[in-house]
């Protein structure tokens, strides 16, 4: 009899723990606008945050979204501080060794930006003799070097610096992430420039896109997230969120 009570108590405490762990804890960075950032009232906002909320609604789960420093993001996931990462994390082979990823939920792509009216495009003939700026050690630098060796490529330490040289006419164009450059074009004083042609979405150069990371010990959650992601892509929720933030589609089909 006594044993039975003990067993019941043990069971209750296990159940209690399970109930406590119920809200799915999702980490984001909060320092990468417009994807994730903290607004004036201290609340997490952005495309990533909205996607996370939409997924939770779709899964009918309670979620808690927390902000976390970027460099400790994956270690924190593996230590069980949270269950998933929705933080514009690019899917790479190296990260796949450490965590599991859902299918990519967006791919911003690379875009060429140049002065309005100039005849320049990501096309070997039109790049011949042109000077293109890219950030050192980025996928955009690899793309230019491997696919468009006709262009003269200049390597910069930051995106801001190559944009300065674009404005001072040292460069005929820059290749960078589409969303970032879209925001730059919206800023005051940058209205003399425009997107040139379609974005590059070639996986060989710019990768698969951003995915949601889940610890390898939790395949159930990965599956639930993948199902929910497929559902919001299907039912229009995704497109609605996409157009709330960007005038072009960044969905990855």
């Amino acid at each position: 009899m006594k044993l039975k009570i003990l067993a019941a108590a043990a069971l209750a405490s296990v159940l209690g723990q399970a109930a406590q762990a119920d809200p799915i804890r999702i980490a984001t960075e909060g320092a990468y606008p417009p994807f994730n950032y903290v607004d004036e009232s201290g609340e997490l906002k952005g495309f990533d945050v909205d996607i996370a909320k939409a997924l939770c609604e779709e899964m009918d789960a309670e979620c808690e979204i927390i902000s976390q420093a970027w460099d400790g993001m994956i270690p924190g996931l593996r230590a069980g501080k949270y269950d998933a990462i929705v933080a514009s994390m690019s899917i790479t082979e190296k990260r796949k060794n450490a965590v599991n990823f859902t299918r990519p939920y967006y791919q911003a792509g690379a875009i060429l930006v140049g002065p309005e009216g100039s005849d320049i495009a990501l096309d070997p003939e039109k790049l011949n003799g042109k000077t293109i700026g890219v950030q050192r050690a980025t996928t955009y630098a690899n793309l230019m070097r491997e696919k468009y060796p006709e262009a003269e490529i200049k390597l910069y330490d930051t995106v801001e610096n190559h944009n300065l040289d674009l404005k001072s006419e040292r460069l005929d164009g820059v290749v960078a992430q589409r969303v970032f450059m879209h925001n730059w074009l919206e800023e005051e004083g940058n209205d003399g420039f425009e997107f040139k042609g379609d974005p590059v979405l070639d996986e060989d150069y710019i990768g698969e896109g951003a995915g949601i990371a889940v610890d390898k010990s939790n395949p159930e959650l990965l599956e639930r997230l993948d199902t929910a992601l497929a559902a919001i892509l299907e039912n229009g929720t995704y497109d609605e969120l996409n157009s709330k933030y960007f005038p072009f589609s960044i969905r990855k089909d």
């Binding site: 050690a137 300065l164 001072s168």
Partner: protein, 228 residues
């Protein structure tokens, strides 16, 4: 450490050495041409010359070289008037911007070194040379400068080595000098230790051979009877 990769990257790094060497050599020549008149202006009797030389040295010795490069490369380029001027074909190029910054910077330091050398020549010698009828120009050329250069050489050699190392900042304005190549290779191969070790070895070889050149020059300029 992946030694094979270091050896493979040598041709690329040596192409960076060419850029570094060109920049440093040209900056030394231009810097010298700036430094000598600046040193003379610093000890001139004319207050205006002294003031100009002092202001120049004050700015270029008192601010970081990186800031000077950024001011010349990114700063000047902001002005539309300058972009329309005849100077733009020169200031447009990162190579010339880096060369201008390095020359002005090393010129300011070298001027101080030469001033010290010139002032170390005993005034009695100048008076004696004047007394036997030498013109001020030949007093400088034949009496003061040979001794001043000998006095200044160790410090000037130091400045040359500092310039070689400072030239690595050229990589921040898109130039592919030794450091620029090494940074790019490190990012491509994910092997920063190998790449920067190889770059360091090349810098060492460069500074070592330059300091040897200075030592040889010092020996040549020292009169035989005073050698120890």
């Amino acid at each position: 450490m992946n030694v094979e990769l270091m050896i493979e990257s040598l041709p690329a790094l040596l192409s960076g050495l060419v850029v570094t060497f060109q920049l440093v050599a040209a900056a030394l020549v231009v810097g010298f041409v700036i430094a000598l008149p600046t040193a003379l202006a610093r000890i001139s009797r004319l207050a205006i010359l002294r003031g100009l030389a002092l202001g120049y040295a004050f700015f270029f010795r008192g601010t970081p070289l990186l800031v000077q490069i950024f001011l010349i490369y990114y700063g000047f380029a902001q002005s539309e008037a300058l972009r329309d001027s005849i100077l733009w074909p020169i200031l447009r190029e990162p190579y010339w911007c880096a060369l201008i910054a390095f020359s002005l910077n090393t010129g300011a330091y070298s001027a101080e070194v030469f001033r010290g050398g010139i002032q170390s020549v005993p005034h009695g010698q100048v008076e004696a040379a004047r007394a036997i009828g030498m013109s001020p120009a030949s007093v400088f050329r034949r009496i003061v400068w040979p001794q001043a250069l000998r006095q200044a050489l160790p410090a000037y050699g130091n400045e040359i080595i500092l310039l070689v190392k400072a030239s690595s900042l050229a990589s921040t304005v898109t130039l592919m000098d030794i450091t620029g190549v090494a940074r790019t290779l490190a990012a491509e191969t994910y092997m920063p230790i190998e790449m920067f070790t190889a770059a360091a070895a090349i810098y060492l070889a460069l500074t070592y051979s330059m300091s040897w050149g200075i030592v040889l020059l010092e020996r040549r300029l020292t009169p035989k009877e005073s050698r120890v």
